[in-house]
C-alpha cells in the first residue's frame, strides 16, 4: 500500500492571533464552546452578586451618625447597607478595649515598637539584624510589659490586664506566641534530632502531644489546670493562662517547621564545621542554624499566619480579644440595627484579611528570593 498524494493541498489558514487584547481574550476566555459557556456563566453570576455587595459596602452604607437610629431603614428612609458609623463610634473600644483613655499613648507606643521590630526582622537587608533579634526576643517583650502593665518606678500607673482588650490583646497574644514559640521551637527541633534517646523521645512526645490536640482544649486546660499545678495559693493572671497554652501549642508547630529546615542542610556542613575545629555548639550557632532558619522563613511566616488566626480562639475562654470586643460592641442596645452584625463581621474580615494576606505575600516573596538564590548558586 502506498500513500502518496497526487494533488497539491490548499495551504492551511494562518494560525489565529494569540497576541494583543483580542488574542488574549480568545485564548483565556473564549477558546472553545465549553470555555465560552463557563465565561458567560461566571460573568452572569458576578453581575448578579457584585452590585448588591458594592451597594451594601459603599452606596447604601451609613457613614455618620451618633446612634443606631441612623442605621435603621425606617429612620433613614432608604435601604441601609453597612453601618460604618457604628465602627467609627466604637473604634477606640475595638482597638484598646477598656484601657483607660488617658493612658492610651502607652498602647500607641507599643504599636510603634511592634512596627519597628517587624520591619527590623522582616526586612532581610536591614542593618544590625543580630541586635534586632536581641531586641525582639529580649528587650522588646520586657519593655512592652513594663509599658502596658505599668511600672511604678517610671511613674507608669498599673493597668490591670482585665482592662486590656481589642486589637491590643490580639496583638499581645500573637506576639507572645511568636516570641516564645520560635526559641522553644528551635530547641525542640534540635532535641528531636539529638542522639540522646531520652532527650529525643521527650521532645517527640511533647511535639506530637500538642500537635495532636485542638487548640481550644489546650486553652481550656490552661484555664482550669494551670492554677491546679502551681504550689500554694499562687494564682495565674487570666490573660497569662491562655498565653502559656498558646506558646506551648505554637512551639510544637514551630519545631516541625524548623526541623524541616535542619533536614534541608546537608550533613557535610556540620562535619566540615567540626573538622575546622568548631565545637558542636559553635557549629550549630554559626553554620547550621543560620542556614536552616533562612530556608524556613516562609514556613515560619505561614505558622505566624496560622497563629494570628488562632488567637481568635482566646475569645472562647473569656479573653477580650478583637473578636470578643466586637461581639460585645455588637450587643450594645444603643446600636441595635439590622445590619450591625454584617457590618461588624465585614470590618473584622477586612482587618484579618489585610494582616494575613500581606504576611502571605511576604512569605511568597521570600520564597521567590530564596529560589533565585539557589538558582544563582547552582
Amino acid at each position: 500500500m502506498t500513500i502518496v498524494r497526487e494533488t497539491l493541498l490548499p495551504p492551511a489558514p494562518p494560525p489565529r492571533r494569540t497576541g494583543g487584547p483580542v488574542g488574549w481574550l480568545r485564548t483565556n476566555l473564549f477558546s472553545g464552546p465549553g470555555n465560552t459557556l463557563t465565561t458567560l456563566v461566571i460573568l452572569a453570576g458576578l453581575a448578579l452578586l457584585l452590585p448588591p455587595v458594592f451597594r451594601f459596602l459603599v452606596t447604601d452604607a451609613v457613614w455618620s451618625g451618633g446612634a443606631g437610629e441612623a442605621c435603621r431603614p425606617e429612620v433613614a428612609g432608604r435601604p441601609v447597607g453597612a453601618c460604618w458609623a457604628f465602627i467609627g463610634a466604637k473604634i477606640n473600644y475595638l482597638v484598646y478595649g477598656s484601657y483607660p483613655a488617658a493612658e492610651r499613648w502607652r498602647p500607641n507606643l507599643f504599636f510603634g515598637l511592634v512596627a519597628l521590630s517587624a520591619v527590623w526582622m522582616l526586612w532581610l537587608d536591614a542593618p544590625r539584624r543580630g541586635l534586632g533579634a536581641v531586641f525582639v526576643f529580649l528587650v522588646g517583650p520586657l519593655l512592652s510589659y513594663g509599658l502596658l502593665a505599668g511600672t511604678p518606678v517610671l511613674a507608669l500607673a498599673p493597668v490591670a490586664t482585665s482592662l486590656w482588650g481589642g486589637i491590643l490583646v490580639t496583638l499581645v497574644v500573637s506576639l507572645v506566641g511568636i516570641v516564645a514559640a520560635l526559641p522553644l521551637g528551635i530547641l525542640l527541633a534540635l532535641g528531636r534530632r539529638s542522639d540522646l534517646p531520652v532527650l529525643r523521645y521527650a521532645c517527640i512526645g511533647f511535639i506530637e502531644f500538642w500537635r495532636g490536640v485542638p487548640l481550644i482544649t489546650v486553652l481550656f486546660m490552661a484555664n482550669v489546670m494551670l492554677p491546679l499545678f502551681l504550689p500554694g495559693d499562687l494564682t495565674v493572671d487570666r490573660l497569662v493562662r491562655p498565653l502559656v497554652g498558646i506558646a506551648l501549642f505554637a512551639s510544637a508547630y514551630m519545631a516541625e517547621v524548623v526541623r524541616g529546615g535542619l533536614q534541608a542542610i546537608p550533613a557535610g556542613q556540620g562535619r566540615a564545621a567540626l573538622a575546622l575545629g568548631l565545637t558542636r555548639v559553635q557549629a550549630l550557632r554559626l553554620v547550621i542554624l543560620p542556614q536552616a532558619l533562612k530556608v524556613v522563613v516562609p514556613g515560619i511566616v505561614n505558622t505566624l499566619i496560622g497563629l494570628f488566626k488562632d488567637t481568635t480562639l482566646v475569645s472562647i475562654v473569656g479573653i477580650a480579644d478583637f473578636i470578643r470586643v466586637l461581639e460585645a460592641a455588637r450587643a450594645d442596645p444603643r446600636w441595635s440595627a439590622p445590619t450591625i452584625p454584617a457590618t461588624a463581621y465585614a470590618f473584622a474580615a477586612l482587618f484579618y484579611l489585610a494582616v494575613c494576606f500581606s504576611m502571605a505575600r511576604y512569605a511568597a516573596f521570600i520564597e521567590r528570593r530564596l529560589a533565585a538564590g539557589e538558582r544563582g548558586r547552582a
Binding site: L196, T217, L274, Y345, A349, L353
Partner: protein, 406 residues
C-alpha cells in the same frame, strides 16, 4: 569526631568520657521531667483535696441531668450518665467531621482543578476563593454563617418550604423515613448498590486496560456510559427495595413535617448550629485542600498531560485517568493532615453551641462535676487517639504509594 589539634584548655575526651557525659545529661533530663511532673501532681492533688473533689473516673457513672440538642444514640437527661453524654458528644464530633471532610474534599478538588483552568475568569475566581477563605480566621467565618447568614433566613413561624422541607432561622426540617420492620432493607440495598457499582467499575477498568474493546482512540469520552450503570445500581437498588416493600404490604413510612404555630413540627430536624459548623468547616478546609490539589497537579510532569492530549484524550479524561492518579501520591499525605485539622477544628463548635465533644464534655460536664483533670485527660486522649491513628494509617499508605525509584 573532631579532627585537628585540640584547643588549649579542652583536653581531648575519650569515647568513654563522652558516653558518660551523654548518659549523665539524659539522666538529668529524665530527673528534671519526673521532678516537674511530681511537683505538679502533688500540688494538684493537694488543691483538689482542699476543694473536696475525689479524683477518679467514678463520676462517669453518675446521672448527667442535662439535655443535649442533637443525639445519634438514645439519651435522656433524667436517666443517662456522664458516660452517655461523652458518647453523644463524641458521635456528634465524628458526624460533623465526617460530613465536613467529604464536602471539603469535593469543593477542594473542584476549586483546585479550577485554579489550573485555561479560563482566566474561572482561574481568578478560584484564586480569590482560596486567598479570601484561607486568610480569615475560621472562628470569624463560623460567626458569619451562624449570625449574619442566619438572620437572612425567614423566621420559624413563617418558614420557606420546598416540597416537604422547611428552612428557617431554627434550621432545616426534612421529611424523615421511618425505619421500622423490614425497612432496613432499603439502606442495605443502597450499600449493596455501592459495592456492586464499584465492582462493575473495576471490571470495566480492567477490561479497558486489557484492551478487550479496541476502538478508535479518539472516540468521544464515554463518561456517561461508564457512570450511568453505576449510578443506576446505587440509586436503583434502594428504589427497588422501597417499591418492593410497598408492594409486599410493609410500606416505608415517611414522617412529613408540618408547619406549626412556633415552627415546623415533626420530621428530621437539622440544627442551625450543625449547618453553620458544617458549611464553615468545609468551605474553610476546602481552600487548603484546593492548594494541596493544585500543588499535586503541578507536580505531575507536564509531558504526561501533553502525551495524553497527543493520544487524543479530552481534558477531563486526561485529568481523570492520567494527571490525578499520579498527583494523588503528592496529594494524600497533606490531605490526611487536613482531615485531621477538620476533626480538631470541629471543636470550635463550642463557640456557636453545637453539642460536640468539647462542648458537651469539656464544657457542661466539666462545669457540673469539677473533675477538671479527668475530663481534660479524657478529651485530649480522644483527640490524640484520632490523630495518632490517622497518622499511622497515613504512614502505611505512604509506604505503599512511595514512588518507585529507578
Amino acid at each position: 569526631m573532631r579532627a585537628g589539634p585540640p584547643r588549649p584548655g579542652s583536653a581531648p575526651r575519650s569515647a568513654r568520657g563522652r558516653a558518660l557525659q551523654a548518659l549523665a545529661l539524659q539522666v538529668l533530663v529524665a530527673l528534671a521531667l519526673a521532678g516537674l511532673a511530681c511537683l505538679a501532681v502533688t500540688n494538684a492533688s493537694e488543691k483538689l483535696a482542699r476543694q473536696g473533689i475525689t479524683a477518679g473516673f467514678g463520676f462517669l457513672a453518675q446521672a448527667a441531668g442535662f439535655d443535649i440538642g442533637q443525639r445519634l444514640i438514645p439519651y435522656a437527661a433524667a436517666t443517662s450518665t456522664y458516660l452517655d453524654a461523652f458518647w453523644v458528644g463524641l458521635l456528634n464530633t465524628l458526624l460533623v467531621s465526617g460530613l465536613a471532610i467529604g464536602l471539603a474534599t469535593l469543593i477542594g478538588f473542584a476549586v483546585g482543578i479550577a485554579r489550573l483552568s485555561p479560563n482566566w475568569l474561572l482561574r481568578t475566581l478560584a484564586a480569590t476563593y482560596v486567598e479570601a477563605l484561607r486568610n480569615l480566621p475560621l472562628l470569624l467565618q463560623l460567626l458569619v454563617w451562624y449570625v449574619a447568614v442566619r438572620v437572612m433566613l425567614p423566621e420559624a413561624r413563617d418558614p420557606a418550604a420546598w416540597g416537604g422541607a422547611y428552612l428557617s432561622q431554627r434550621g432545616l426540617v426534612l421529611p424523615r423515613p421511618e425505619f421500622v420492620g423490614a425497612a432496613w432493607l432499603v439502606p442495605a440495598a443502597f450499600v449493596a448498590g455501592l459495592v456492586g457499582a464499584r465492582a462493575w467499575m473495576r471490571r470495566r477498568a480492567r477490561r479497558d486496560a486489557a484492551g478487550a474493546e479496541p476502538g478508535p482512540v479518539a472516540a468521544p469520552a464515554p463518561v456517561l456510559a461508564l457512570g450511568l450503570p453505576a449510578l443506576a445500581l446505587v440509586l436503583g437498588l434502594p428504589a427497588l427495595a422501597w417499591i418492593g416493600l410497598g408492594l409486599a404490604g410493609h410500606p416505608v413510612g415517611i414522617a412529613w413535617p408540618s408547619p406549626g404555630p412556633f415552627g415546623p413540627e415533626g420530621g428530621l430536624g437539622i440544627l442551625p448550629e450543625f449547618a453553620a459548623l458544617l458549611l464553615g468547616l468545609s468551605t474553610y478546609t476546602a481552600a487548603f485542600i484546593a492548594e494541596i490539589v493544585r500543588a499535586g497537579l503541578n507536580s505531575v510532569a507536564r509531558g504526561q498531560g501533553e502525551a495524553a492530549a497527543a493520544l487524543g484524550l479530552s481534558r477531563a479524561k486526561t485529568l481523570r485517568l492520567v494527571t490525578i492518579p499520579q498527583a494523588m501520591r503528592v496529594i494524600v499525605p497533606p490531605l490526611t493532615s487536613q482531615y485531621l485539622n477538620v476533626t480538631k477544628n470541629s471543636s470550635l463548635a463550642v463557640l456557636i453551641g453545637y453539642p460536640d465533644l468539647v462542648h458537651v464534655f469539656m464544657g457542661t460536664v466539666l462545669n457540673q462535676t469539677n473533675q477538671a483533670v479527668e475530663v481534660v485527660a479524657i478529651t485530649m486522649a480522644v483527640y490524640l487517639t484520632l490523630s495518632l491513628g490517622l497518622a499511622a494509617l497515613m504512614n502505611a499508605y505512604n509506604r505503599r504509594a512511595a514512588p518507585v525509584t529507578r
